[in-house]
Amino acid sequence: MIEINSLTKRFGKITALNQLNLNVKKGELLGLIGPNGAGKTTAIRIISCILHPDQGQVLVGGYDVFKNPLEIKSMIGYLPEEPNLYERFKAYDLLKYFGELYGVPKDILYPRIDELLELVGMSSRAQHKINTFSKGLRQRIGIARALIHDPEIIIFDEPTMGLDPATAITIRDFIGSMKGEKTIILCTHYMDEADSLSDRVAILNQGRILDMGTPKQLKSKIHGDLILKIDLNGSEKFLVDDFNSIKSLKGTENVFLNGKELNISLKSKEDISDIIEHLNSNIMAVNTKEPNLEDVFIQKVSNFQDE
């Protein structure tokens, strides 16, 4: 459904996307994760024809972003990171305005507005002005706006960022309910969100895809049944020394130092005692857990930075 080949985008001297390759299948929900400035927003803006690529090829539903931007825009529902809506509009009028801009016929548009307002739980606020809404309510209206033309592809950029947990869960459930019906790209900082919702996850850093696969596939690349997390004490020199010494120990698959936190992938619990004995008095706290997407993310990004 979406095919990106060797996509490059520069802003002045900054290269936001560097020879990016990515594909999204029809009906798939692709999670796009990466640190700040990784190029996630730039990538989805190019897919949505908001930005123009400098180089490369982007095909959406068979259309080229260079040649057929209007056709592509008609296929996409885009929800930006900030739910910046026209403050002076009433919720109903806002949906009507965007419906008209998408060219939705009136006989379809008006029932669709009612349906969407119902879906996002905003029917009772339809005649209220946007400037009276909280961020959560704006996000709901933003979602309704993005879906007003019943798009084939939906792109969410940090849809739950800054929302209270209850609203975030509502929105996640809503995104989850569309899985399989729509092709969805979900940009997020929340690993749990990407893990639970995505069919596949792409890890992006410095304008490149570091890895891509199902959450299960990515987690399996951690090489271990469990992860030992050790909070260390001491100066930077001691931390580096500990880090290097642990890498040489038997049974440790992958070792990463994240600030003062040492992450070690282990094959069995039996190796824990050797590690604790080795680090001795430098340990402040010890925890074990199963590998998750966050560990994969940290590992991939750390590896990339080391290179």
Partner: protein
């Protein structure tokens, strides 16, 4: 025609905005007041007395007069001089600065009978700054009095002198003096063009506002080209101006202004709005925020006003048959009832077309640039290099 959707909603939102309506009707109120005072001013300037542009000199100085016959006294200007009867205290008052002058006139009837010079004496304090006014007024009255006495003498010598046919000059005027043309026609034209400069904030709000409020991102994500976004928003502002200009013309017609052909004048003013909005759109497309846009528009409007008014003034001053680029000149020609030649209409219209194409083309070109809308915004020099294609050549040379 989705750009019409943008125009329709922009216009709807504008006309529904209480703040805008307040400004809109405030503008109309100011116009009514301007028209009222302008009409009063014109009525004065066209009267015999004219209009006094200097401060009032009413009873500016005081003068006591001893004129037994009163022939001198009645020729003094009572609006400037506070005239009193001379008495024993007058000299003392003059010395004390309570009085600005003392005029002593001899018995005029005796002078006339013996054909001897009329003697009068004016006493003024040389340290008094008002003395010159008193002296000038007395000299003026003296000249008038002399004329009257001369006429009386002629009457005695030639009793039927009234029947002598004096050469009579009857003044018949056509046209208007240059100052009158400047005031009436230029002022009327300025009043008509004024609304075109009162809605720059709407352009700024609809374009810069999209950037500042970050709503531009979702608008650009719509299946509508950026050209149509710019054109749609500009059309909404031009429509707002059209409503305001129509109301202004109605008010001016009701107030008795002569506009020649009001419908033609209206069309020309509205056509003039197109490049003005276009130039405002360039500023708005480039500006990062409202403050920058405000400064840019101030500069742009100074240039546009100069371009409109200077050729109009030159046309009136030279009274030539020169064809002007300025539509204000064209409007003034219509006010004057001049028969228009094709060139009078075609040349300003071609000029408007060129400026419009250039301004909207530039604004669209700017708005299509990602770095203008989303930043980091390039400087004017780099943009100019982009515009003329130098950047593309450099990129090709560098190989990317």
């Amino acid at each position: 025609m989705r750009y019409w959707t943008i125009s329709k909603w922009e216009l709807k939102n504008t006309l529904q905005s209480r703040k805008f309506l307040l400004i809109f009707f405030f503008q109309l109120t100011v116009l009514v007041m301007m028209v009222f005072f302008f009409n009063g001013f014109m009525a004065n300037i066209e009267s015999q007395e004219g209009v006094g542009l200097t401060p009032s000199l009413n009873e500016f100085a005081s003068l006591d007069v001893d004129d037994p016959q009163g022939i001198f006294k009645k020729n003094l200007n009572p609006e400037i001089l506070k005239i009193g009867l001379a008495n024993n205290d007058s000299s003392q008052s003059l010395k004390q600065g309570k009085l600005n002058g003392l005029l002593l006139v001899q018995n005029t009837s005796a002078s006339i009978n013996y054909l001897s010079p009329l003697q009068s004496e004016i006493l003024i304090d040389y340290s008094d700054p008002k003395r010159s006014v008193v002296r000038d007024e007395v000299i003026l009255a003296s000249n008038k009095t002399a004329s009257i006495i001369s006429q009386q003498m002629i009457d005695k010598i030639i009793p039927n002198s009234e029947n002598i046919n004096e050469p009579q000059i009857q003044e018949q005027t056509t046209g208007e003096s240059l100052p009158m043309q400047l005031i009436k026609k230029i002022m009327t034209a300025i009043l008509l063009f004024l609304p075109l400069f009162l809605f720059g904030n709407l352009v700024v709000d609809s374009i810069v506002g999209e950037k500042e409020r970050k709503t531009g991102e979702i608008l650009i994500a719509m299946p509508i080209s950026r050209s149509y976004i710019i054109l749609g928003k500009s059309l909404a502002v031009i429509m707002t101006m059209a409503i305001q200009v129509a109301l202004w013309i109605i008010i001016m017609l009701v107030a008795g202004f002569s506009l020649g052909n009001p419908l033609l004048v209206y069309l020309i003013v509205i056509i003039s709005a197109v490049p003005i909005v276009g130039i405002t759109t360039i500023v708005a497309a480039y500006a990062k925020n409202f403050k920058e846009a405000g400064i840019g528009i101030t500069f742009a409007y100074i240039g546009i006003v100069g371009f409109l008014i200077v050729p109009a003034l030159a046309y009136i001053a030279q009274q030539g048959n020169n064809i002007s680029f300025s539509t204000m000149t064209l409007v003034i020609k219509i006010f004057s009832g001049e028969s228009l030649r094709w060139g009078d209409i075609i040349i300003p219209m071609i000029f408007i077309l060129i400026i419009s194409i250039f301004s909207y083309g530039s604004a669209i070109w700017l708005f299509k640039k990602d770095e203008i809308v989303f930043g980091p915004r390039p400087g004017i020099v780099k943009l100019f290099m982009d515009f003329i294609g130098i950047t593309t050549i450099i990129r090709k040379i560098k190989g990317f």
